[in-house]
Structures are given as C-alpha cells and as structure tokens.
C-alpha cells in the first residue's frame, strides 16, 4: 500500500535533482510572482538540513545577510524552485548542521570536500 503512494508521488517529483547535501554551498533560483509576472530570485548559502522523503522532501539553506542569520526552507520538488546550483561541496560529519546557529565568523567555515 505504501509503495502505491510512493509511485503516485514519484509522478509529481522532479526527475533530475542535483545531488547535494548538508555542508554544500548552493544557489537556489526561485520563481517569485511579482506584479503579474514571474521573475527569478536567487538565494545563496549553506545547506544545513534535508528533511522528509518523497515528494515532501525539503531542504534548509542558511546564510548571513546584513549581519543577521537567515534560514530558508524550500520544498525540494516545488515547481517554484527553478534550479539548484551547487557552488561548493562541503565536508561535514553530521546530517543536520544546526550547530552553525551558535557559531559566528571563522567558526562557521566548512572544509571543502577533497
């Protein structure tokens, strides 16, 4: 029964999501409705979490904007998420990087993979 749900979800899922994970720096191109027409808006930062499964999967991107920490959570399969660009692969040792919230400046650096 569960797989029937999953096959149904798969229909709505994006076929080619780039492989990225926590620690990676990404740029998310987001479709924003503005004054009757759509335009693309980018949000750049470090992926701190991927959550949920199937069609319901979301990911959270953290960045420091004007001195304040900002985290945005995107539904991975949302048609509004136009494109995800991977800028840098990070080497991290856990799945959720919530510890970054308590760190500032130098301490938020993430080692690059290889």
């Amino acid at each position: 029964m569960e797989d029937k749900l999953l096959t149904l979800e798969r229909q709505h899922m994006k076929p080619n999501v780039p492989p990225f994970g926590p620690g990676d720096t990404v740029r998310v191109h987001m479709r924003v409705a503005e004054g009757g027409r759509d335009r693309l808006q980018a949000f750049e930062g470090v992926v701190v979490a991927r959550k949920g499964g199937g069609l319901r999967e979301t990911f959270t991107v953290r960045r420091i904007s004007h001195g304040v920490g900002v985290e945005r959570t995107f539904p991975l399969h949302s048609p509004r998420v136009e494109r995800i660009e991977i800028l840098r692969k990070g080497r991290v040792r856990r799945a959720k990087l919530y510890y970054l919230r308590e760190k500032i400046g130098k301490e938020t650096r993430i080692r690059e993979k290889r």
Binding site: M1, L8, E9
Partner: protein
Amino acid sequence: MPALLGRKLGMTQVFDRAGNIVPVTVVEAGPCVVVGLRTPEREGYAAVQLGLEPVPESRVPKPYRGVFQKRGLQPVRVVREVRLAPGETYEVGQALKADVFRGGDRVDVTGVSKGKGFAGTIKRHNFGGQRDSHGVSLMHRAVGSIGSSNVGRVFKGKRMPGRLGGERTTIRGLRVESVDPERNVLLIRGAVPGPRGSVVLVRHVEGGARA
C-alpha cells in the same frame, strides 16, 4: 449523485498550478461493482448497493454466496448502500471507477475514525483543563466539577471521559483535487477519517462545482 467505495492509501501533498502546497488524502477507488438495487416499488426507496474487492466464492459463507450467485456476480468483501437522487439509474454488475468524479467536485467522505481508546475530557470533548500553576495540584487535565450539590445528581449526557474514536464519521464538503483514472485513485484535499488501508465511502455533494 455518484458515489464510490475505496480504501484510504494515506496522505501526501501535491503542488497546485501556482506552486502552492496542497495537502491531500489518496483514496484508491475500488473498482466498485453495483451488487444490488433498492427500488421504490419493492423497498420503498431508491438506492444502490456498492461492493468492494472481489473474494473467491470458496471463502464466503454459503448464504452469502447464494446472494451473489443469483445475480451472476463474484462475492465482494464490503457492501455499502448509497441513496440515489431521483432520476439516477444504475445496473447490477456495473463497475464504477475513479472517473465518476472530476477535479473540483465536492464530496462527503465517510469512514471509521481511528480508535483512541479511553480518552479524557480534554482530548474527547475539547475541555480546557485547569491551570499549570497557581496552586493547582494533581488536577491539570482533570474534568473538574460535574454538577452542583443543589441538583444532587449528574445530568444525563454530561460530557465525561470514555471511549473515543472507532466510530462512523463523515467529513463533509471536501474538494476532489484531482482524479487519476489510470491508477484509479482520487486525491481529496484535507484529511479523511480512519487509518491507512481502511474502507471509506466517497459521495458527491449536490451544489458542488458540478451541478
């Protein structure tokens, strides 16, 4: 007034055209078979009996088997009766699938709600409970007073703790978000009574998007 018997597969979400998330319940719609008719001439009212999930004849009690043999049908696991609107006609043996509904239809969904066991008044009747502090002792989720000493008895129907759930429940006016005839599946916006895998009855509501 189209109606269907189905099984609840579970909940998920889909995106609408604007990209908004819509929570939906996935219901596998049969296929159902019309196993019998109720006519005003014979029974005094008009209705159809819908059947869900065929079972082999050998797995069914003899009297039950006879009912289906007489009509030349395979026995089914579940039978439910649905009242007909005047002028509606069905035939015995007719198969009904998800395509009797269309996206945008309003439906009532009936099922047996999840059993919650013996529940207190906060969960069962939405009582407010008592304070967490200010001297309240061992009474935080308790019922409190159940009447006055002047009356000297408790009124009938006083809401108290007891068995909750596991009863027939109808959620009215839900919207059919979309229909997948290929998989024979309905996506209904919002929640529907019962656990995954339970039998639900989906009925079209007059005055919905489709007249």
